[in-house]
Symmetry: C2
Subunit: 422 residues, 2 copies
Amino acid sequence: MPDSLTRINSDRLYAALDQLGQIGRYQDEETGLQGVCRLALSAEDGEGRRLVVGWMKELGLEVRVDRIGNVYARRAGRRADLKPVMLGSHIDSVPTAGRFDGCLGVLGALEIVRSLNEHKIETLRPVEVAFFTDEEGCRFGTDMLGSAVACGRLSLDYAYELKDRDGLRLRDELEKIGFLGDCDEHVTPPHAFLECHVEQGPMLIQKGVEVGVVSGVQSISWQALTIVGKSGHAGATPMDLRADAGVAASMINLKLREMIATGHYGEMRATMGAMTPHPGLVNIVPGKVEATVDLRNPSNELMQRSETDLLAFYEEVQKREKVEIRWRQTARTPAVPFSSRLQERIVAAAERAGLSHQSIIAGAGHDAQEFAAICPAAMVFCPGEYDGISHNPREFSTPKQCSDGINVLLEVLLQLANQEDL
Amino acid sequence: MPDSLTRINSDRLYAALDQLGQIGRYQDEETGLQGVCRLALSAEDGEGRRLVVGWMKELGLEVRVDRIGNVYARRAGRRADLKPVMLGSHIDSVPTAGRFDGCLGVLGALEIVRSLNEHKIETLRPVEVAFFTDEEGCRFGTDMLGSAVACGRLSLDYAYELKDRDGLRLRDELEKIGFLGDCDEHVTPPHAFLECHVEQGPMLIQKGVEVGVVSGVQSISWQALTIVGKSGHAGATPMDLRADAGVAASMINLKLREMIATGHYGEMRATMGAMTPHPGLVNIVPGKVEATVDLRNPSNELMQRSETDLLAFYEEVQKREKVEIRWRQTARTPAVPFSSRLQERIVAAAERAGLSHQSIIAGAGHDAQEFAAICPAAMVFCPGEYDGISHNPREFSTPKQCSDGINVLLEVLLQLANQEDL
């Protein structure tokens, strides 16, 4: 019964994304496009926050700011004693961002509230719209910071002492932009947490799917490798006397592909994003390579297996190529599955709306994964043009791509906010 | 009969190397050692040239400078009508050099003349000691420049118009340091050309061999590759939708190893010295890689075969990894075999002196290869410590390592300069 569904105003949402996207705008040299730079707790972030808080207040929401600068805006339900359904994401950005990313989740949630108000729809439970401090982690080095503090993974003290590259303390910067609130940083677990975000990948757009039903967040393992071989003249060093760090890096890079092809590691993804040979000259055998390995896996067990097997392969390469491979773990997060019951509701809502949908694993970290530790949580992904490129001024989703995801969220919200149980 | 052999004064040669090495010296940050920077036609090169010309004159040699700045110093023989035996190399350096490299060949030749004078040894043929302009090619971009002009491969006009990165013209720079001579740049083919040089590789030192008998110069083929794939988020881009330029580069790097292992390409050497992924971040699939390929082969035919087969492999990688591989040839020189009769004489001289010796292919280019086009030419390599590292302040050969090679050269010179035929 698609006609009976409540819908958001797509143009209004798009106009809000555009308005917020003017704050922190810059002319991007590489793409020639207008980009967005609204680093966490910068003056631009402060300006963006004030714009969004203004909208929250216009919508009659009750706004509170906690001690880590997370902002919560509450729309009352008929039963004040019931836990709210929370919708949220973040509005801070990477240095070279587009207008969508987490903004879609926050402004989409506000557009949902605006639509509820417009249609005079009351809910049983309260509805809260939230945005969280420094999700990107670009400035202070820890991503999902605000939601991690709210959900208890990180302490307020830890967060306060973080410094940016200029030595500026996070707490001082919060205060400077006027968002050092006084509410308890520990959020009361909501009834459910829902987040909409752009996919940041090519799957939905390439397969022509309108709504991504996020099954969870992958486990992430990052390694920094220093491969030490022996520099030598490319013409004068016989092949059998070489210890070529570049060849060793290439072996590891192709091993990652081989491991995936075996199927032994489930839905493993693997990337060697950096591999810089020294001295990096045409006629010198690379004596050293700095490389990185990025492993992702929705299964913690299979992630563990891939790491173990990769380390064994490093041993093999050390012997075969006479190099030394030093590695250190630079990041490691476990897989977080999202609530299967919420995923079912998202699927049902998409079907009622006649939208194509597909289960998809989140490639990057999101605030919803922090909430998954304290309540049922789920996410909806919207497709992005240009293979879903993100963290780039080319990031672009059409009004329909944005509103399809937000409409599904609205539908699920209406169910959750009107029922006592999940 | 080793005792009957004429020998050079090893300490005197070493002191001369040290004295020339003071000109253009700098404190090298990376190694903490004193390095040498005497770029072709720089003020330092001018100073070095004047020091060496001064020594030539002290030895009673007749010095002439040609129009490309090559310097020839002649010691008369009993028969002025016979062609001279020429000994030579270069004294210009790369920006981060040691004290040996070509200087050993030039100062070793002068030490040979000094020893002949000291022992009052006359020769039938004249003996000439030469050093050539801009062998390194670091400043004006064309290596073996002076010898290539002298032997007719490059024209004087071409050389004169070369510019350095500041736009300074080679002819003006020659004039500025006072080495724009007026002798014909085309050298009269000598009876034979002999050059001593440090190996610039690990073979002699690792095998404990005292004298390298150079069989020739390898063919060199350089390619610059631009591999264009598609950037993507390492977490969000499914493996089957990737076009990873870094993986493509790794495939090519390992293919080079495979090709060598087949044995189908003779004594091929191959190196991927540069492979820079863009953007080069841990969590981004490389969308572009700039890489280089350096191929060497003593056989022109097998070089050609390796190039053809490598291009076919690029086609395969383009399909397999969905990337575009653009390549251009940045250097291509043919293999130059040295005179087998001169090699036999070098072997015999080493044996008479009780020195271990081994045939070795030159990995880099040398002035002797230009002379190989107009007369019998050959080279002797001296081992270097630290795996023969060169073009680096760590470049180091002991007094014995230097004098072993120069003594062999002296012995061969005495034969050649006293016979009418080779």
